[in-house]
């Protein structure tokens, strides 16, 4: 439940940034990609679509994902996503807690813009 709320909040934050932050809009200009965050058990997933300088987001997965960040479980995902340590995401990958499916560069870009 908590993870669903965090993913929802992340979507709202990205949408607000796209509306009100010039700096953020620069980062998503010409970007056309779909990022999905999910848990391995399929219990939780959220889709973030970047297109036409806008961000759309909705609960659930997407067949058009350019990259999917799959977490082993919600608890680990929350711990890392809410951490201030930039390298924690890499560490999660290194430990097998996070699997990046699809375009790795898109994943790096996404972790950068949500930081």
């Amino acid at each position: 439940m908590k993870m669903r709320l965090v993913l929802l909040a992340l979507g709202l934050k990205l949408q607000a940034s796209a509306l009100f932050s010039k700096e953020f809009r620069k980062k998503i200009r010409y970007i056309n990609r779909t990022v999905v965050i999910s848990t391995a058990d399929g219990g939780c997933s959220h889709t973030y679509i970047f297109r036409n300088n806008m961000v759309l987001s909705h609960p659930g997965g997407s067949d058009n994902a350019t990259v999917e960040l799959v977490w082993t479980d919600a608890k680990t995902a929350l711990k890392v996503m809410l951490s201030d340590e930039a390298l924690d995401t890499f560490s999660a990958m290194g430990k097998g807690d996070l699997v990046v499916k699809g375009n790795f560069q898109d994943a790096l870009w996404f972790t950068d813009i949500v930081a």
Partner: protein
């Protein structure tokens, strides 16, 4: 971002391009400085993994000399260079003999594995357009196939379907069968794949290609020049070449276990019937016919000369000896690494092997500890593992890496080494 994301950005003071040229001695001295910054000499460092595929010093010297001798010859104009033409044809013939390809197969040189794979897709696309009128092409490949497939599909607006592997980490042929549609132009398998060093079931994939009448490509970039020799040494490998009826093209890198200078790979078509879909002789410009060996235009004849020289120098006996050494190296790694608590070698067929980490061990921390000891290796993420390239290196190289790994694992477990240790390379 460095190791994981491309070139580092450097800030330069002043202007780099000089107003006046420097002396040859000064230029060479400055180049030596760059050389010293790299870690390229496997025999002086003893600990390099994955970054070089050349480990026969004499053959390396011969390849270098041959490369230098022909470096400035443009293989694009080979018709004007009868020596280069003859040399190139001799290399192609030797490739057919080494890899047991049929005499009527058609070999073409490329700049590397990526270009070889692009060439296969381009041929399949043209074939499918002409013969099946497929205008929205897609390809179906195993998840472990080289990512250059995805790269070219992006450039060429082709949909790529990467199908999850079977439990044995090889292509799931039944799942690939289900994924094929009327728009599928190509399927492919690896012999072996880069991530795990495992061969896909090429005979089954070949039968699948025949059933659906799609192009079948075998990516032998990594093992193409080692597999035939390993087989002769008694290694039990799946059949992966043109002995499989459905296979239309095979890629094999000369600059890997062919031991030529970089960059040089090959794509071979079963015969002229399939090669015709690759031939692209353009003439819609003022200068008439422009016919190239592969996708690239200008190509140095240097690497081709180096391939010729190394093939002649090593002969069958030399390649067998190097393949034998690679198999011994694999065995040595397996025995020694499996004694280390917290890691385990995942068995492979040939060329590469992964060392899997115990749950909870951070791959990046392990790499950090190894890099600090000048033991370089590449990562694999699914599951987290270190990748070892099974080059025909000395026992000392193997033992140094194993010693470093045995030292690093307990330190990572104790929290004394973390991902921070890898920061200088990130």
């Amino acid at each position: 971002m460095g190791y994981f994301g491309g070139e580092q950005e450097l800030e330069f003071e002043g202007k780099l391009f000089p107003d006046k040229g420097a002396s040859r001695e000064d230029v060479m001295k400055m180049l030596s400085d760059f050389d010293a910054m790299d870690v390229t000499d496997i025999y002086s460092h003893n600990t390099i993994q994955s970054t070089t595929l050349m480990s026969h010093l004499e053959a390396a010297e011969i390849a270098k000399d041959a490369n230098r001798m022909f470096l400035r010859r443009n293989y694009l104009y080979k018709e004007l260079l009868p020596g280069c033409t003859k040399m190139g044809l001799e290399v192609k013939q030797m490739i057919k003999e080494m890899l047991r390809f049929p005499q009527d197969s058609r070999v073409r040189f490329t700049s590397g594995g990526s270009e070889s794979l692009y060439s296969a897709i381009a041929s399949a696309k043209e074939w499918a357009k002409q013969e099946k009128n497929i205008l929205k092409p897609e390809i179906v490949v195993p998840y472990s196939i080289h990512t250059a497939f995805s790269k070219w599909c992006k450039y060429a607006s082709i949909e790529i379907k990467r199908i999850p592997l079977g439990e044995d980490y090889r292509a799931d042929v039944a799942a690939m069968d289900k994924a094929i549609t009327k728009n599928t132009i190509l399927i492919a398998g690896s012999a072996p794949c880069w991530p795990y060093g495992l061969f896909d079931d090429i005979p089954a994939l070949g039968a699948l290609a025949e059933k659906h009448n799609v192009w079948m490509h075998v990516d032998g970039c990594l093992g193409g020049f080692q597999s035939p020799f390993a087989e002769k040494l008694g290694q039990n490998l799946p059949v992966w070449d043109f002995r499989v009826p459905g296979v239309r093209s095979i890629s094999a890198d000369l600059h890997k276990h062919g031991y030529s200078a970089k960059p040089l790979s090959s794509i071979t078509f079963r015969n002229k019937d399939w090669e015709q879909y690759y031939v692209c002789s353009a003439s819609d410009w003022p200068d008439g016919l422009y016919s190239t060996e592969a996708i690239a235009g200008t190509t140095s004849a240097g690497p081709i000369a180096s391939a010729w020289a190394v093939m002649k120098y090593l002969g069958e006996e030399g390649y067998l000896e190097l393949a034998k050494r690679s198999l011994e190296v694999k065995q040595r790694y397996l025995e020694k690494i499996n004694q280390i608590d917290g890691v385990e070698c995942f068995p492979s067929d040939l060329c590469t092997m992964t060392v899997r980490l115990e749950k909870g061990l951070d791959l990046f921390a392990v790499m950090g500890g190894l890099f600090e000891r000048q033991s370089y290796c590449l990562p694999s993420f699914q599951p987290p593992a270190l990748k070892i390239i099974l080059d025909p290196v000395t026992d000392e190289v193997v033992d140094t890496f194993v010693k470093d790994l045995a030292e690093v694992i307990p330190l990572v477990k104790a929290g004394e080494i973390s991902i921070d240790n890898l920061k200088p390379w990130m």
